[in-house]
Amino acid sequence: MELNTAGYRLSPVSPLFLFIEAVKKMVFPLLIGIVGTSGDRQDLFLIGIAALASVITIVQFWFYHYWLEADRLVVKQGILFKSLRQVPYERIQNLNVERNLLHKLFNVATLQIESASGVKPEAVIRVISNDQVKHIQDTIKRRTGHTIGVQDDAEDSAAADASAASATDDPAMFRMSHQEVSKYGFISHQALVPIGIVGSILSQNDYYRSQFIGFMQKFIGDLHVESWGWSQWLIYGLGFAVLMLVSIWLSSIALAFLKLYRFQINRVDDNLHAEMGLLTKLNANIPLKRIQLIKIRHSPLHRYFKRVSIKMETAGGVTEQSGLTMRWIAPLIAAKQWPQLLSRVQPEVDWQGMDWQPVAARAWKRVFKRLTFFVLLLCAPLVYVYHGWGLLPLLLLPLNFWYAKAFIKHAAYAINDQVIAWRQGVFFHTMGVVKVGKIQNLSARQTPFDRRNGMARLSVDTAGSNPVTQDINIHYLNTAEVHAMMTRLSRQVSQVKFVW
């Protein structure tokens, strides 16, 4: 194939992948349509719509062209609504390559190009040959110098390991063993939500529910449930709970293996290069300077295993629904090793010598009052219905007291010449770090309660942060402190140029 002509088409096997993608998008609504309803004529209607949509998707294949110009990648697509998208190489945030078993069979890959704009990826090229992927990567690398370093695209992980081992001057910065992956699965119990959703959908459906009850009655009928004493109930109840927990854990571990199998992350020039996945292999490439925010989390289970999770946010707002995402620096890493790993990612930051400042100590009263308010709110209807027994939630008050104290004790922030960092959480600890150069704007906020207590909060806005959770928010600080922080940070920010 001649690689340098203008106007490439997708690979001839593309329609297959486009169809699978369309089906994937349809599968969930379809499932609800089939499982959730009685199975009437409306289902045929739904299937009809799905079929039409997939035909349209496949036709799109004929109208998808892209080419590489001196300084930009151009993608032309559309049948009725044509679009011509130009992505300058300089603006490309991430370059993700996805390969699953089917991709491997046809020797092709899905390439996703992400810039800093919006929620959708700039371009998803589904699918092109491996040679072509390599060509695009090389071109981008050549044109931008070090901006987008491109990973060596080894055919399989064994070769990747070999090449990593041979290039001993830069071995894998971080990799996860199988044991770590299973621990991650155990800690994250990701299967909980899907199992819950499936369970609730099935229980909504009359047919499946009666089937299930009939099936269970066969057992329980034999067990003579009506003559059980409390000890039998306890044993079988516990048995059921353990069974559920074990199955959730096992499927979570399986999910973790699918996603994170052979996870490894490397620093190549000024880029992070990660690869992972069992059946679907994901190669992601993230320029270091695009990292906006680094977040370190640990839950009680993390602490039991002495591990933490490290995530990053890049300026591209692509979510899991809209494209391939790679947000991990380390899904699970020993609590002692993370400063070492992060100082390889951002050597300019002093990861261990942060000067943590506490928040206002008297603020525990406010946390306590707020929690107590919710407890009282809970009490009100209970007292109305159950009278004296409704006051039982008041037993939570000592717990509230402890929680409020612990919350304020753990909350802290640190500012130095490179970063602003904060941490908080009692059970689920979160620590976030933003480099000063990535701060877009600052604001100090005061609620009426804040004002009465002489406190304020500081919010820092970055590109690519989650607008819903609004993470970067340091609360319960003294007003004077916040003003000093504002002055200091805005001076620092105005001295550092922002690079996407």
Binding site: Q440, L442, D461, A463, S494
Partner: protein
């Protein structure tokens, strides 16, 4: 590089927000009033009296609120950037560093145009607080402020 200390908004802007509040309230309140007259058997003059007093009360509350809102609103251009202080109950002090400004819009509504006022909308690359609005500037001031912010940013290509 120009700077100025904290400034209030143009006094005419207080009139603008009051006029638009009065109009909005009129639109919001008329519907329910007509509905009540139509549905209930209360004589129309009672409904009208009720409506007028309710409208007057709301208008009074809002006028009082806007007065304090206006009094608290301050903006300043410092060497580091544009600072805005505002809010009656929930107060906020926002700071947009000059070198983080992506682009600036100037918008003008029909009532504002009568008083020769404009709104300045400053965009940054942030997410939750990506655009900051500064209303109640004389149109010429808004243009000058935009020019100043863009000029002081020009030698640095942020994108």
């Amino acid at each position: 590089m120009q700077t100025f200390e904290e400034k209030p908004l143009q006094p005419a802007y207080l009139k603008v927000v009051r006029i638009s509040t009065a109009i909005t309230l009129l639109l919001v309140a008329t519907g329910p009033a007509i509905l009540v007259t139509a549905v209930s058997g209360i004589p129309w003059y009672w409904v009208l009296a009720c409506y007028v007093s309710f409208y007057g009360l709301l208008l009074g509350l809002f006028f009082w609120y806007w007065k304090h809102w206006y009094k608290r609103y301050r903006y300043a251009l410092k060497t580091v950037g544009l600072g805005i202080k505002k809010g009656v109950f929930w107060q906020q002090h926002a700071m947009i560093p000059r070198n983080r400004v992506q682009h600036i819009d100037i918008t003008t509504g029909p009532i504002e145009r009568r008083y020769d006022l404009s709104k300045l909308v400053v965009h940054t690359a942030g997410t939750s607080n990506a655009s900051v609005t500064l209303p109640g500037l004389l149109h010429d001031d808004a243009v000058a402020l935009r020019q100043e912010l863009i000029n002081s940013n020009q030698n640095e290509d942020t994108v």
